[in-house]
Symmetry: C2
Subunit: 123 residues, 2 copies
């Protein structure tokens, strides 16, 4: 019975190291888990509006996220069209898909880090 963390924390088996991750620039955060899920759903539905509804997010917030993301990329990764067939819609560029791919890998590496730290906590 030494002074290791394991013996200091109560309900040690329930305790875990957790965190969140994002990309940021001088303009602030712009690429957390929320925006990525939104991108994926825009790809699915072809619409910011429907994507937002699908994940129970306000259109206003969804639009702000898309806007912030487009502002941080060399060229817009979400192409909006107001008006037109079926009222309009939004499509993703190949770069957007690449961002999604990158994000998945990043999240996996982070998850590995968290799991490793949580494991160390208990030994």
């Amino acid at each position: 019975m030494d002074t290791s963390i394991k013996n200091i924390l109560k309900n040690n088996h329930d305790v875990k190291v957790n965190g969140s991750l994002w990309l940021e620039s001088a303009n602030g955060h712009f690429f957390g888990p929320g925006p990525v899920e939104l991108l994926e759903r825009i790809a699915d539905t072809g619409s910011i509006n429907m994507a937002a509804k699908a994940m129970n997010m306000s259109y206003k917030k969804a639009w702000a996220l898309v806007n912030a993301l487009n502002a941080q990329t060399s060229s817009p990764v979400v192409i909006p069209q107001a008006g037109g067939k079926k009222g309009g819609g939004s499509t993703l560029t190949g770069e957007a898909l690449e961002l999604i791919r990158y994000h998945r890998l990043l999240r996996q590496r982070f998850a590995d880090f968290l799991e490793s730290e949580t494991r160390q906590l208990k030994e």
Copy 2:
């Protein structure tokens, strides 16, 4: 000029991977950077009140943090005394010092992870 992240993000040299880290249990978060700095200042000043003032935090919040932390440890790591010499004060147990030590190491490993990810972002 391929489709790597570096070429998709604008102002690539300003962009970095950042995040936050904490310990959590069923009762919620209880060990972010704020609480740890508070512990360090309690060790310095011998008082929750003075520690809170020193880091421009309300006493109410400081007390809540200490309370939450004490609730998550096998035995309290901050020992408060209301009344007594100089009105009272609070002292840290050895376990509290051990928690601070652990936190420093954890933060360092996380910083390394973030730095590594940020570096990969630019190559």
